[in-house]
């Protein structure tokens, strides 16, 4: 059997890696919440598993998402991951075709060119030799970019690259050496035996002419094996752990497992899945506008791993979701940050026993303006006008004595406190027997929709107004003002409401488009997610966002959030309006239509 001592470092490293991974994976899975385990059991033998495999291929190997964001960075990741994968895959095929059996030691395909030096023929020999050289070349080009990125991160279009720790450095250095050493080892051996394809063959004959390849070959193979060994041992303790972790993450996500309020085993897997690509740093407005570049998700996740999460990393973030939107691994970064804000003990013991439900009113539609909307009376007034014109039987739930929806408490980690407010509001909602709950505030909307588990329709007023327009209850007149729409974080990235406001705006105005919109929209800077940004810092973020939003030179800036409206209106001479205000100002009410409308109404509600 083919054997040489130099295969030992590789083999030991490989065995260690598998052992460590087995242990880690087992612990992760065992520690998962029982609900999450149930999800796995339910979905394991379903099409979701195939689905996950597909995604592993697309993301872990091809790195499609990084490609889309940044082709150069995408190529770098793809050439390393997919190139290496092909090397292993085709190396194994090659070994199988050569030995005509499945049984060969694991190191055999890796060091194939060392062991097989005769010109003995096997099926597709020439193709294999060509392909193996080609794949090696692809990996080497990726490696070249990766090394350059370490020194000049601008090459791949990143303003800032991540900082490294010891095991990262060990793994990184080994990784850098693996493929150049493989190239050398294979070339030396090719030079010695006068074989090899376009890369190793030509390099080999070049080396053979100028160097003592017979002396150099074995040390190079040793070096190659050592580099592999070191890499494998360092991997589980380095950033490269993200590769196996991400595979597990993809499967769990496909099975429906999600980040919870508490930090669970799944959160831990997410934290380990971060590839530290640094894309989140470039997406972060706190970096771009304020120049604060140590709190971004990549550093935040690292501080979780190192158990050193400080207030600055934790509470400066606006939870705008821009990093989450762009994260190639799809980590739920905002929710993950909230798991770390989780407060306990005396900080979470509010009773809110002063909340006594007022005399409720039965209505078809409940309107919850939200705390912030009380500071933007124009929005409130417009909504009431729309309800009246449409003849809706509504109840203004928080017209005077209002309880907060609970979302701000959730964002600050006071989950138990939030639950009490939610319980109170739920009671009110249930008593009203309403079929629809309309809110003007995307912050409330998010929590009503996701945390309240209500069995009635929850709508943001954008959706509700559009529905009224679509069934013909509201007639709108198109004006000629030029408007730009700003996507509020919680409404857009938070809940994916992008189309409704745009359809509405196209009916009442000329909609212009800024460069960054929809999922790439900026945060206004007023976010309740951040707890320690100063007003001045918020103003800088706001002005930065405004400058970009105002590029198309609109007459009006339209948004769909009281907080965005309040924030922006202080920073520009251009009129800032909520979409409800613009619609309310564009409504036509022909008296004759009114009776008909009442009938149509039923359909909206019954739906």
């Amino acid at each position: 059997m083919a054997y040489h001592h130099f295969v030992l470092p590789f083999s030991i490293g490989m065995a260690a890696l598998f052992a460590i991974l087995m242990v880690k994976f087992t612990i992760w899975i065992v520690k998962l919440e029982s609900v999450d385990k149930r999800l796995i059991r339910k979905n394991l033998f379903s099409v979701k598993t195939l689905d996950a495999m597909g995604e592993v291929f697309m993301e872990s190997l091809l790195h499609r998402k990084i490609f889309r964001k940044n082709p150069m960075l995408g190529y770098m990741h793809m050439s390393l991951a997919f190139g290496w994968f092909l090397l292993i895959l085709f190396g194994n095929f090659q070994a199988q075709f050569y030995t005509r059996t499945m049984l060969h030691p694991p190191y055999f395909p890796i060091f194939f060119n060392f062991f097989v030096t005769t010109s003995e023929e096997y099926l597709f020999k020439a193709s294999f030799e060509f392909l193996m050289d080609l794949f090696l070349l692809i990996v080497l080009t990726g490696l070249f970019i990766a090394i350059s990125k370490r020194f000049y991160s601008r090459i791949v279009g990143l303003k800032k690259t991540t900082k490294l720790k010891f095991f990262d450095k060990l793994a990184l250095t080994s990784l850098w050496f693996i493929f150049p050493l493989r190239l050398l080892a294979e070339s030396f051996t090719s030079g010695l035996y006068n074989n090899g394809d376009f890369l190793t063959g030509s390099l080999g004959s070049f080396f053979a002419r100028h160097l003592m390849v017979e002396k150099l070959a074995l040390p190079a193979w040793w070096g190659y094996s050592l580099a592999l060994g070191f890499f494998f041992v360092a991997l589980p303790y380095s950033r490269y752990m993200h590769i196996p972790a991400e595979v597990l993450l993809i499967f769990l996500r496909k099975y429906g497992v999600r980040t919870r309020r508490e930090f669970t085993s799944y959160s831990d897997i997410e934290v380990r899945s971060c590839s530290r690509c640094g894309i989140c740093i470039d997406a972060c407005q706190i970096n771009n506008a304020l120049g604060i570049n140590n709190i971004q998700s990549v550093y935040f996740l690292r501080s979780i791993r190192e158990r050193s999460v400080g207030d600055e990393k934790l509470f400066t973030c606006m939870l705008c979701g821009r990093c989450e939107n762009i994260c190639p691994v799809g980590i739920q970064l905002s929710d993950l940050r909230m798991t770390q804000r989780n407060k306990n003990g005396v900080q979470n013991t509010s009773t809110y026993d002063f909340l006594v439900p007022p005399k409720y009113k039965v209505a078809d539609v409940l309107y919850f303006a939200g705390c912030m909307t009380h500071l933007t009376p124009a929005i409130k007034k417009s909504m009431l006008k729309i309800f009246d014109i449409a003849g809706v039987n509504y109840y203004f739930m928080d017209s005077d004595k209002e309880a907060c929806c609970g979302r701000p408490l959730i964002q600050s980690g006071h989950y138990e406190n939030a639950a009490k407010l939610m319980e109170y509001n739920k009671k009110l909602i249930r008593q009203s027997k309403a079929k629809v709950l309309v809110t003007s505030c995307p912050i409330c909307y998010k929590t009503f929709k996701e945390d309240y588990k209500l069995n009635i329709h929850v709508m943001h007023h954008t959706e509700y107004i559009l529905k009224l327009v679509e069934v013909g209850i509201l007639l709108l007149e198109k004006g000629d003002s030029k408007v730009v729409y700003h996507d509020p974080c919680e409404l857009g990235r938070g809940l994916g409401i992008y189309e409704e406001p745009r359809i509405l705006l196209n009916k009442v105005a000329r909609l212009l488009h800024p460069d960054e919109e929809r999922e790439n929209a900026f945060c206004c800077g007023g976010s309740l997610g951040s707890f320690n940004l100063s007003t001045q810092q918020r103003n800088i973020i706001r002005d930065d966002a405004l400058a970009k939003l105002m590029k198309p030179n609109p007459d009006k800036l339209i948004t769909a959030c009281p907080l965005c409206k309040k924030t922006f209106s202080k920073g520009t001479k251009v009129q800032v309006l909520d979409i409800a205000e613009l619609v309310a100002a564009s409504v036509i009410v022909p008296e004759a239509k009114k009776a008909l409308d009442m009938q149509k109404h039923e359909t909206v509600l019954v739906e």
Binding site: L375, T376, P377, A378, K381, T535, S569, K570, G571
Partner: protein, 339 residues
């Protein structure tokens, strides 16, 4: 050869400076973007602290402008200023081109746009007006009524709207609003003896001559009430009444009140033209957006650009008395410069 000065801005600061300079045999170009001279004062009815008609001020300033040395360019906007051989070349939208020895900037202030404090309901609720709106109503001479034509029974005057407010973007105190509120409250009471008036303030800054006296008169003679608390928001009732929320900080309790009318004491903020002008001429602005003086004590009227001077509220909120004094001192500084 007679020296020539261009004064940009025909409010009271520009007018006073023009008349002083003309009497010193300096030729003056008084450039005003509007048809009328007089600026904000021209739109005011009566003035604190002695309730004298504002028109008296503008009339006497106008009379003083009857001087051959003064050329008034109304409806004129300066489009460019360039320095050429120790002189300034001033270009206007009327295609004029003046060569002058010195420039006096007297373009004044803007009133804070009360729409920006949406929670106070300006532009949303009909019975929320600004101090400037009230002054126009008083000047019109009609009986003060609500939007529906009723005589108001209770009015709230809200101090510091757009002043001392980081959220509105202005830290500074506008200096005149406290005393204006007191003045306007007394005027309303003189016309409508049965109306209740509440002034909501954070601090009362009655610093000028005669101010404290009319504050006291407002309390003693006119029964005006003062609540130490900042208005947080206003809402509208079904019947058009306005509900305001504040804290009565001296009793430590939140306070709710229904009023028929709210008067917002809008502050003085840097004019839009100030930053444009500063950019064009390379003049420094201070953090509050007004034009800066390099020396707080000795530097008044002097900018960092030699030959360019300031008068009046382009540098900071001022009362009329202070503006007139500032304009005179500016005239003196220009004289020294071009002599």
């Amino acid at each position: 050869m007679t020296k020539k000065v261009a004064i940009i801005g025909g409010g009271i600061a520009g007018m006073e400076a023009a008349s002083v300079l003309s009497r010193m045999d300096i030729e003056v170009l008084l450039i005003e973007k509007r048809q009328q001279l007089g600026g904000h004062v021209g739109e005011w009815d009566h003035l604190f602290p002695n309730f004298r008609p504002a028109s008296e001020i503008t009339r006497s300033l106008l009379n003083a402008l009857q001087n051959n040395n003064i050329k008034i360019c109304a409806n004129t906007v300066v489009t460019g200023i360039a320095r050429k051989a120790g002189l300034f070349e001033v270009k206007t939208n009327q295609n004029q081109n003046f060569k002058v020895d010195g420039i006096l900037l007297a373009t004044g202030f803007d009133l804070f746009d009360a729409h920006k404090k949406e929670e106070y309901g300006y532009g949303i609720y009909e019975n929320v007006i600004t101090s400037a709106d009230l002054e126009k109503k008083l000047k019109g001479g009609n009986v003060l009524t609500t939007a529906s034509g009723c005589v108001p029974k209770r009015i709230a005057m809200i101090h510091c709207v757009g002043s001392r407010d980081e959220k509105a973007g202005y830290f500074h105190c506008s200096r005149v609003c406290c005393i204006t509120a007191v003045k306007q409250a007394i005027e309303i009471r003189q016309k409508l003896p049965n109306v209740e008036i509440f002034c909501f303030y954070m601090d009362l800054r009655m610093y000028g001559k005669g101010f404290e006296e009319i504050y006291r008169e407002a309390q003693e003679k006119w029964g005006i009430q003062f609540v130490r608390g900042r208005l947080s928001e206003a809402g509208e009732n079904i019947d058009g009444g306005l509900q305001i929320k504040s804290e009565d900080t001296l009793s430590g309790r939140p306070l709710k009140m229904i009023v028929d009318m709210i008067v917002l004491m809008v502050g003085m903020v840097p004019a839009e033209s100030t930053s444009q002008m500063a950019k064009m001429l390379g003049i420094h602005l201070s953090g509050d957006g007004f034009i800066a003086h390099d020396d707080v004590h000795f530097g008044s009227n002097i900018t960092n650009v030699p030959g360019i001077f300031t008068a009046g509220t382009i540098t900071s909120p001022m009362t009329i008395s202070d503006t007139i004094a500032d304009a005179r001192s500016a005239a003196l500084k220009i004289c020294e410069y071009i002599a």
